[in-house]
């Protein structure tokens, strides 16, 4: 059986753990198979969980989150017959598949959409914690936005510095309101559970928001511009389907591979104007063709690309 290990945020984190869970559930529904799943309780358990799963014969073992990288590097060689898949970071071992997403590409498209939808020329970004992974979202978004509106303005806020940052919808909502007060009319939330508050506040204030990780368009139909989906579910589904034959090496889940995308469905169809769609398509094509280089690193306090 395959196995899935969720990172500390837990299975229902409204973010990528939950997306992984969705993928596993879809695999169960489609194949009728069964899988093992574990939720991390503490840092010290990572290695324990990996080893115990490997010893029970689970194969492949999929784990979400870069935090596993370090541990997997030491554990994988001990179980050469087991395949591992790790999401969000690269582990260079012969029996490991490293799944990395180009969040910046998806966020770039979200930025393009925001720029097109914005009337004020100011948009917002609310991140959970000020950490490199979230910088990818922030920088891609800002770059996409600037590509369309070079003179526009991106407001950036982070929720906090403790673990509570991912579970504080109240602060998320307040930040959204503060950004709205400064003129933002599209706000992108990459903040786990806190993002729910951002989307809610945006809807309350009558402005648009952008969801993240899974498709959150349905939360406020007609008021969520789009969601930058990160198809962790597909990665998990694929890994589960491949079983013991899991291909190792780096698996790049980029725009071209439909690893990231901006979700367009019935809930936001009305918001996507033809010219917006055109802008998206153009940008996507250019990214795929390598004509647009996205810089997803921060230097100091701002995105390197800006």
């Amino acid at each position: 059986d395959p196995a899935l290990i969720y990172d500390l945020g837990g299975k229902f984190d409204k973010s990528f753990n939950e997306a992984a869970y969705t993928g596993a559930v879809r695999w169960v529904e489609e194949t009728g198979g069964s899988y093992k799943e574990l939720e991390m309780q503490s840092e010290a358990q990572r290695e324990q969980a990996l080893r115990r799963l490997a010893e029970t014969g689970a194969n492949p073992i999929v784990m979400t989150g870069f935090a596993f990288g370090d541990v997997l590097n030491t554990v994988a060689p001990d179980y050469p017959d087991t395949k591992f898949a790790i999401i969000d970071t690269i582990v260079d071992q012969p029996n490991v598949q490293s799944v990395v997403f180009t969040e910046a590409e998806g966020s770039y498209l979200a930025g393009v959409m925001a720029a097109t939808a914005s009337k004020t020329g100011t948009v917002g970004f609310v991140g959970g914690m000020d950490v490199p992974l979230i910088h990818r979202f922030e920088c891609g978004y800002a770059q996409g936005f600037k590509a369309v509106r070079p003179d526009g303005n991106v407001l950036v806020n982070y929720i906090g510095t403790t673990a509570a940052a991912w579970n504080d919808p109240v602060k998320g909502g307040e930040l959204a309101k503060a950004q709205k007060a400064q003129g933002a009319d599209v706000i992108y939330a990459a903040a786990g559970g806190s993002g729910i508050g951002v989307l809610q506040a945006a809807a309350d204030e009558g402005i648009l928001s952008v969801g993240v990780d899974s498709n959150q368009n349905h939360l406020h139909p007609g008021q969520v511009l789009t969601s930058m989906v990160k198809r962790v579910d597909n990665a998990v589904f694929d890994a589960f389907s491949a079983g013991a034959d899991l291909e190792t090496g780096v698996k790049l889940m980029n725009l071209a591979a439909a690893g990231v995308a901006v979700a367009i469905d019935d809930n936001n169809k009305a918001l996507v104007t033809p010219e917006m769609q055109a802008a998206i398509d153009e940008a996507a094509a250019k990214i795929t063709a390598g004509q647009i280089k996205i810089v997803d690193q921060k230097s100091g306090n701002s995105c390197a690309a800006q």
Partner: protein
């Protein structure tokens, strides 16, 4: 004259309380539609059933001993140090800086140096609240809460912007040099030919924690400083009458307290992760409060309470890992254990006292 024998007070009462906590926990488990028996089994098996489980239980115990002692030492001076979380986080920073930037050839040298780094950083983080309390009268409870937040922010900044290896996604430091790897208990057992607790994080820090218990005991009950700490904690006017200087004692006590909390880092940062993570402390600072209070601020009590929480942590982790019971159940069980053994203990003690008293009176007449 005591109302009941000492053994009834220190052993029987907590045991009955623990039993009550477990009984209520069982009800909660039943209520969410799971089997309490299975849960208990999983927990005991997972935490105590194998040398492997013990290896984790003792690892967590080590963490809680340090933070528990930190709270306990301060408590004797009547200082409520809720800042263990921040102090332990800063201790981690101290360990990381020492191990990353000093050329330390061997763990036996690295350990004492890291201990100093951890203790210094933890102590420094406790010093400001202590100074503010002693000199400016700012309430230490508020300032230590604030310093927990400030520590989190500082660590966030340092890890993301300074210590993070270039290109890494993970807001964590680079791995510490191989030479500073602490011997795990497994290795130590293997050295004397015993196969014990393979792949468990418990390491030599466990013995440091035990030594810390002993030292704290000596400090509080056998040393002059401890005498002065306890005197000040019980009565400030009396302490002044006796020539004890409150400011000095407050500062020294908090330095020791912060140092102990910081020392936790040799276990989780140096011993386990071998690099500094953003959320390395994982609430151990707060558990330390419960551990100290339940252990009645005595090192032996702290050790036992830490062991109990180590068991709950590991057993609970196992429960969440291998059954469909949500991991939050463990938090509920912890809460009930704290509640019954720590806060509702008189519910058990008072009837017991009456029982023993009537037994004695019957014996007398």
């Amino acid at each position: 004259m005591d109302k009941m024998p000492k053994w009834a007070d220190v052993i029987l009462t907590p045991l009955i309380s623990l039993f009550l906590a477990m009984a209520i926990s069982a009800l909660v488990i039943l209520a969410i539609g799971e089997s309490p028996w299975l849960a208990l089994n999983t927990m005991v098996e997972g935490a105590l059933g194998s040398s492997y489980g013990w290896g984790f239980t003792l690892y967590y115990t080590t963490n809680f001993v340090f933070t528990g002692l930190a709270v306990a030492v301060a408590y004797h001076a009547s200082l409520f140090n809720i800042g263990g979380e921040g102090q332990a986080a800063m201790g981690g920073l101290g360990v990381a800086l020492v191990l990353l930037y000093l050329p330390l050839p061997h763990w036996s040298i690295a350990l004492p140096v890291a201990m100093i780094g951890a203790a210094l950083f933890g102590a420094a983080w406790a010093l400001i609240p202590a100074w503010l309390q002693a000199k400016r009268g700012s309430h230490i409870v508020i300032t230590t809460i604030m310093f927990n937040f400030i520590a989190a922010a500082t660590l966030n900044y340092v890890l993301v912007n300074i210590l993070r290896p270039p290109g890494s996604m993970d807001p964590s430091s680079a791995r510490f040099p191989e030479a500073t790897h602490l011997p795990a208990l497994t290795d130590m057992a293997a050295a004397i030919g015993i196969d014990w607790g393979r792949n468990t994080p418990v390491n030599i820090s466990f013995f440091v924690a035990i030594a810390a218990c002993l030292l704290v005991w000596l400090l509080i009950w056998r040393s002059r400083l401890g005498y002065e700490i306890r005197a000040l904690g019980r009565s400030e006017p009396a302490a002044i009458y006796a020539g004890i200087k409150p400011v000095r004692i407050i500062l020294v006590t908090m330095l020791i307290s912060g140092g102990l909390a910081g020392m936790m880092a040799i276990n989780n940062v140096m011993g386990e992760a071998e690099r500094l993570l953003l959320n390395a402390v994982e609430g151990a600072g707060f558990i330390g409060i419960a551990v100290a209070l339940m252990g009645r601020n005595h090192p032996v009590g702290v050790f036992l309470a830490a062991l109990l929480f180590g068991f709950l942590y590991q057993g609970g982790g196992e429960l969440a890992l291998w059954t469909s019971i949500p991991r939050e159940l463990i938090i509920v069980i912890q809460a009930l254990v704290i509640l019954f053994t720590g806060a509702l203990d008189n519910m058990v003690r008072m009837p017991l006292e009456r029982l023993f008293l009537s037994l004695r009176q019957r014996g007398d007449s």
